[in-house]
């Protein structure tokens, strides 16, 4: 073993193939040489005595000696810590222990952290902050790289110094915005109303509300960009509610200029009852076609914990007609809940309104939730679906194989 190793080294060192050794061969030799060197270490101990005796407890001396000065400092400081400072200490220790903890934490976040009712809630909250911080960092790094690239490109251009002439008029975003707003303004007068029911604040946690508002902002922007926008209504909207505060946080000064109707009235006070349809996944009725004369209501709610039947209960209480999207009719559903996010809902409704094509509209359902569109008789598809599921979940392998053999006989 040893001789082989030395031989190997000799070959590499002997510069027979210096170039190859540096580049090509290194890759091939690397794993080999690693095992060899390891075994060498192990062997060495048995064969020849180490030159010096190892002092195994030296690390303790180092740790203690390096701390002598620090000790004198720590003794003098006051023992009692405020609860905030103590929480900070705990976090710092957790960070050292390699848990998912953010590096910087604000006073406000620290207070939220201390108010968490249980250990697991604390862990979850910290992990959330940690991930948020991580994404922020990554984004910042990407932005910096982009800026550098742009500067380089500019430097390149200034060298070439040629003015490009484009046959097209450059459409600036402000021009686009104006066009969109013009459309939105038209929809405020002539457009089909679409109601967001803002009465779910009590059922949601703070984080769920912020998520809801983010989804609504996305829906509103996609509505504004569409060919024929809805006239959006926010009903049951209470001033100075959590929703309101979050919207102002998201839109800032644009909140006052949005071309939508915001009201604290209920939709039943504004529109005739027989025209309203409440969209909810729990509804027993399935939507067949999109009706241009009806007013659809979407409940603005994100439920991270399952709250079945909350929006259906609202519709029942007011005696409104309800409807669910025909997901099962058109899609081969595989996993996930059938409640969609608000922006997905918006995309689907806009597409239905413009094209009345279910297949096109349901493109906006996340791909992970279904295996494909229904175009064959469902029975055949069920088999495929079961097969996909078993393959995905890795259960009942033999059975799957048998099934597979039955479905696809050898020729």
């Amino acid at each position: 073993m040893r001789s082989a190793n030395t031989l190997l080294r000799k070959i590499v060192r002997s510069s027979v193939l210096p170039f190859a050794a540096q580049h090509g061969m290194k890759k091939d030799l690397f794993p080999l040489s690693r095992t060899l060197s390891l075994s060498l270490c192990l062997k060495q101990d048995k064969s020849c005595e180490p030159s010096e005796k190892l002092d195994l407890d030296e690390w303790k001396k180092v740790m203690r000696s390096g701390l002598q000065e620090e000790v004198s400092e720590t003794v003098s400081e006051p023992k009692e810590l405020s609860s905030l400072a103590a929480a900070r200490e705990t976090l710092e220790m957790w960070r050292l222990a390699g848990r998912a903890v953010p590096e910087n934490i604000s006073e406000e976040q620290l207070k939220t952290f201390m108010e968490c009712p249980s250990k697991s809630a604390k862990k979850k909250y910290l992990k959330y902050l940690h991930l948020k911080e991580l994404y922020k960092k990554i984004d910042k790094r990407k932005m910096d790289e982009k800026r550098e690239r742009r500067l380089e490109a500019q430097a390149q251009e200034s060298k070439t110094d040629e003015t490009k002439k484009s046959p097209f008029v450059c459409l600036w975003s402000s021009t686009m915005d104006r066009a969109y707003n013009w459309r939105a303004a038209q929809s405020m007068i002539f457009g089909q109303p679409l109601v967001f029911d803002m009465s779910y604040e009590k059922e949601m946690s703070v984080r769920e509300v912020t998520n809801t508002v983010k989804q609504i902002v996305m829906s509103e922007s996609s509505n504004r960009r569409s060919v024929d926008p809805f006239h959006i209504h926010f009903c049951n909207f209470k001033d100075d509610s959590l929703y309101h505060r979050e919207f102002i946080k998201q839109y800032k000064e644009a909140w006052g200029k949005l071309l939508i109707t915001v009201t604290d009235q209920c939709y039943t006070e504004i529109f005739p009852k027989d025209k309203l349809i409440y969209l909810t996944a729990d509804s027993p009725k399935v939507m067949k076609t999109f009706d241009h004369n009806k007013i659809y209501i979407v409940g603005s709610m994100v439920d991270k914990s399952i709250k079945r039947g909350v929006s259906l209960a609202r519709a029942k209480r007011l005696g409104l007609e309800t409807a669910a999207l025909p997901l099962e009719k058109y899609l081969l559903w595989s996993t996930g809940a059938k409640n969609l996010t608000l922006d997905q809902m918006m995309h689907i409704l806009l597409t239905l309104k413009d094209t009345a094509d279910w297949k096109k509209a349901l493109e906006f359902v996340p791909k992970r939730k279904y295996c494909g569109f229904v175009d064959k008789p469902v029975k055949e598809l069920k088999k495929t679906l079961d097969l996909i599921n078993t393959l995905k979940l890795g259960k009942r392998r033999e059975e799957v194989e048998r099934q597979f053999a039955k479905n696809y006989p050898k020729k």
Partner: protein
């Protein structure tokens, strides 16, 4: 990565690090694999020495990993050294290190130090149950039963749930000891099992049996048995407690069911106020029922047969004893269809009362209400485990009541292998919890390997009598 078998010199560690793909986490990966392979402690020491020489400091994570290795091998002096170093280097420690220190020290002769550490942990957080477990075991190993029980009661007061292991250790270490105080505390543990409907597993049960039999001068004798359906113990002919609730428990459970399960946050979620009122008057007019049937659940017993025929079979079976039946269903059962034939429905309505809820209402909640309103003798028939309804109840006490009531009043139906007949699993006549009469104890236990859901109860019992 394979850890080396002997301590290495600094340059050898360097070499290994260079050969490793991710040098940044080399020492952590190395220590993890040492823990996995249970390497000699000297190897880890040599790595720490190398790190200390290189950086003049050792990271907290590395210290914790080294500590894990020491605890794994019971190196007490090393654990103390690491603790001293950590104490000086860091103002506070986090729960992971504390857990390790307490675990390591409590199993040595330095166990008193673990107790002082536990006190330290209490200043900043609620200690984990493993911390308590280590300290309690240490105290009872050294026959300090009083101290062990103090810790145990403190743990319960802080809502930290004890492991079955801890409870078992109490019985193991008290074997052969005398003392009224001790006996009272151990009976307290048995009552804790009773209150929380916990079933000990086989080895735990054995510990309990041996403890009872070892009490000097009391002549306890334990035997394993299974209880008859009548609720009689075949060993001592003692009749077990019946599964009925007290009047007080009944009314509080009914109230909770109405408040939390049926109404919840919004009555419209499961029914409507109008419908519930109609149902209440319907029930009041016809009280009391003997058996309430979940029509839709029973109608699905055999998939090959028509749903209404399944229901008819069940109703016929149950109506024989001249019982007053109530069948709960939904309105769609009234529409003549391939599964619901009108004439068969008519025939059934002569034998039982029917209430049809709206198609989007929950019929289970009505089932619970009607059964509870009818009183103690009333049973209900469904294959449902009622887990979702139990989950609606807010506090553990009511949930336990609900389970007890369910065990005593639910008749489970299942199809027989062939033919038309349907089999019924009758409701339990006796209550399946740890129970005592003073000179006898009856303790249900489970095999370690069998999975137990909260709606399943063990069939095996330990019967202990005093001769």
């Amino acid at each position: 990565v394979q850890p080396p078998e002997k301590p290495l010199q600094a340059e050898e560690w360097n070499k290994l690090r260079e050969d490793f793909q991710l040098p940044g986490i080399f020492e952590e990966v190395m220590l993890n694999s040492m823990i996995r392979c249970n390497s000699p402690i000297d190897v880890a020491k040599s790595l720490l020495t190398h790190l200390a020489k290189c950086n003049g400091d050792i990271a907290y994570t590395v210290l914790v990993k080294y500590l894990t290795l020491c605890v794994q091998q019971g190196q007490v002096s090393e654990i103390c050294d690491v603790y001293d170093i950590m104490k000086v280097r860091f103002k506070t420690l986090e729960s992971g290190a504390y857990n390790l220190l307490i675990k390591g020290l409590s199993s040595s002769d330095q166990w008193r130090m673990a107790l002082t550490l536990l006190e330290e942990v209490k200043k900043s957080m609620i200690p984990s149950r493993t911390c308590y477990e280590s300290c309690i075991k240490a105290a009872s190993r050294h026959q300090e039963m009083k101290l062990a029980f103090e810790l145990y009661n403190e743990m319960l007061a802080k809502d930290v749930v004890p492991t079955l292991d801890v409870l078992q250790s109490f019985f193991d270490f008290s074997r052969g000891m005398k003392g009224a105080e001790l006996q009272k505390e151990l009976f307290g543990i048995l009552f804790y099992l009773r209150e929380n409907q916990i079933y000990p597993h086989r080895t735990f049960m054995r510990s309990i049996k041996l403890w009872f039999e070892s009490i000097p001068g009391e002549n306890w004798r334990g035997r394993l048995t299974s209880i008859k359906d009548s609720g009689q113990c075949p060993v001592c002919n003692h009749q077990l407690e019946d599964s009925n609730l007290t009047e007080e428990e009944y009314s509080s459970l009914s109230e909770r069911i109405i408040k939390d399960v049926i109404h919840g946050t919004d009555t419209f979620r499961k029914t409507t106020p109008k419908e519930f009122e109609a149902f209440q008057t319907f029930v009041e007019d016809r009280l009391p029922f003997d058996i309430v049937i979940d029509g839709l659940n029973v109608s699905h017993i055999k998939s090959r047969r028509m749903q209404c025929e399944n229901l008819l079979d069940a109703v016929n079976c149950l109506a024989k004893e001249n019982a007053r039946l109530l069948v709960l269903g939904r309105k769609h059962m009234l529409i003549n269809s391939s599964n619901w034939k009108r004439e068969i429905m008519k025939e059934m309505q002569n034998k039982a009362d029917f209430f049809f809820a709206e198609n989007i209402s929950e019929d289970d909640a009505f089932l619970l209400y009607a059964t509870l309103r009818s009183g103690k003798h009333c049973r209900f028939v469904t294959r449902d485990f009622l887990r979702d309804h139990k989950a609606c109840l807010p506090d553990a006490l009511t949930r336990h009541l609900f389970r007890k009531w369910q065990r005593g009043h639910q008749i489970v139906v299942f199809p027989s292998a062939e033919g038309r007949s349907i089999n019924f699993l009758p409701a339990f006549r006796y209550d399946c919890v740890v129970q005592t009469t003073g000179d006898t104890w009856h303790i249900p236990y489970k095999n370690v390997f069998e999975e137990k859901y909260s709606y399943q109860v063990p069939r095996k019992w330990l019967c202990i009598q005093q001769k």
